[in-house]
Amino acid sequence: MSRGTLLALQILVAVVCIAFWHIFATYTIGGVKLLPPFFFSTPFEVASRIVRWFVEGTIWKHLWITLVEAMLAFVVGSLAGVLIGFWFARKPMINAVFDPYVKMLNALPRVVLAPIFALWFGLGIASKVALGVTLVFFIVFFNVYQGVKEVSPTVLANARMLGMSERQLMRHVYWPSALSWMFSSLHTSVGFAVVGAVVGEYLGSAAGLGYIIQQAEGVFDVAGVFAGMFVLAVFVILIDMIVTVIEKRLLVWRPVASMDAR
């Protein structure tokens, strides 16, 4: 299938869905409206809401806030995950001692942490970043740990035979291996950074995409909710596309695998 046909088909799916939505929300069929606008709004209303947000410029502030929160969560969570993952992998003792606690913390549903973070860090950016960090950290941590552990024993033996010191092993063997694992989970960790930010906003804040959606829900403004969800979805897709580009750059040395599903 060529790229053109594929794109056409993908667009067709959206058009059909929106058409059905429009028809069932506007016309009465057999005496009932299948999608009453009060609960489902209409495509035009949602679209005009989105346009208004962008024309009036109110949305930019919220997008920016969510972006900043997600990026901070990603950076802090990744840094911590890389450092601690590396440390645990190189020190089996540390790992053995902390292993049950790591698993326990990771098993905790993060939503329950949101109110506590709001209490500790206030209703501003910090509490959302903290929530995102708890999500990003574990993904990066487990991947980096695995990356260090999964270095091929032959490659390692080769490196040592070539005369590498312990520090050079870190730099030329463990580190690239760990990073490659981390990069291969980039989509997931970036996604979770956004989730952390939005959920945090939703549960208590004064700005951000999660806040918009929550506000709209509070007054049964279904069009607002849908518009917010749509902007959020596009926002996530854009970020994901950027991640794909970065990933291709960073992992040139890898045999092509997960990429190019499109």
Binding site: S152, N158, R160, G163, R254
Partner: protein, 278 residues
């Protein structure tokens, strides 16, 4: 024992590699021990090219690992130029049986790294790496990552990765294993060419008897495992420089081949049965 007809006649100096009554046992998961090599005594003189041939699973790689210092023998000793080996063998370059290139480095970076970590400036190391890659016929592939190279090209990168550091001892574990017959011959001649320039001590593992005879000064045969031993030791009376294709046509080659094969074939059958063919 006499060295090969054209091997240097150094007998006073200590051998480059000397394994004395080496025994290697592995502890298995169920807490039993598996003795892979029972008793191996083997000397490789400086400048000598020794080939080890044996049935699959007999412990050839294990012996090389001992010589490299990657495995400590459970019994017996390994000495390198007269000094007992403790830890890694710093005088040796090791071409592994399995893929050992750094997948995240290009071919040129893989070759240059051995120099870089020893303190050679990066630009200079890269330049020499490119020269070496050219010497084995893949000068144009320096920018490729290992997964973009063919099996034979990877083996050549591995070879120069080791050679560029100019080790005194060369340990090679079935370096031409996965290659087709023609490529093996080309690589073999290439190896002899490079080796004749500075005559390192070489310990060369192969399962191909013809290749062993064609390349080496001496052929060592191992019995089938477990508890493998070295059961034979033949000096190769062929003149150097050799061309692998031509040397196989000589009568001396055939006689030696028949003689060694007599000793080897029972072991090969045994090895195949005992280790389940691999």
């Amino acid at each position: 024992m006499a060295a090969g007809s054209s091997a240097p006649a150094v007998s006073t100096a200590a051998p480059a590699v000397s394994l004395n009554d080496v025994q290697v046992s592995f502890r298995l998961a169920d807490d039993t021990t598996y003795t892979a090599v029972q008793r191996a005594t083997l000397d490789v003189a400086d400048g000598e090219f020794v080939a080890i041939v044996g049935p699959t699973g007999c412990g050839k790689s294990t012996l090389l690992n001992v010589a490299a210092g990657l495995i400590a023998p459970s019994n017996g000793t390994a000495t390198i130029f007269g000094a007992p080996l403790a830890g890694l063998n710093r005088q040796a370059g090791y071409l592994f049986q399995a893929d050992a290139l750094f997948p995240w480095k290009t071919a040129a970076e893989n070759v240059a790294i051995g120099l870089e970590i020893a303190g050679t400036p990066k630009a200079q190391a890269r330049e020499r790496a490119t020269t070496w890659l050219g010497r084995v016929g893949i000068g144009g592939f320096g920018n490729r990552y290992p997964h973009m190279l063919s099996g034979g090209q990877r083996k050549r990168v591995g070879l120069v990765q080791v050679l560029i550091r100019d080790p005194k001892i060369l340990l090679m574990d079935e370096p031409f294993g996965p290659l087709d017959a023609q490529t093996r011959q080309i690589m073999g001649n290439l190896l002899l060419d490079l080796w004749s320039a500075d005559r390192k001590a070489v310990l060369f593992v192969t399962h191909d008897l013809e290749e062993a005879i064609a390349l080496s000064d001496r052929v060592v045969i191992m019995s089938a495992g477990p508890a493998a031993r070295i059961i034979g030791n033949w000096t190769v009376p062929l003149a150097r420089p050799r061309d692998i294709g031509e040397v196989k046509l000589e009568r001396a080659f055939h006689e030696l081949h028949r003689e060694i094969w007599e000793a080897l074939k029972d072991e090969v059958m045994k090895g195949y049965q005992q280790t389940g063919g691999g």
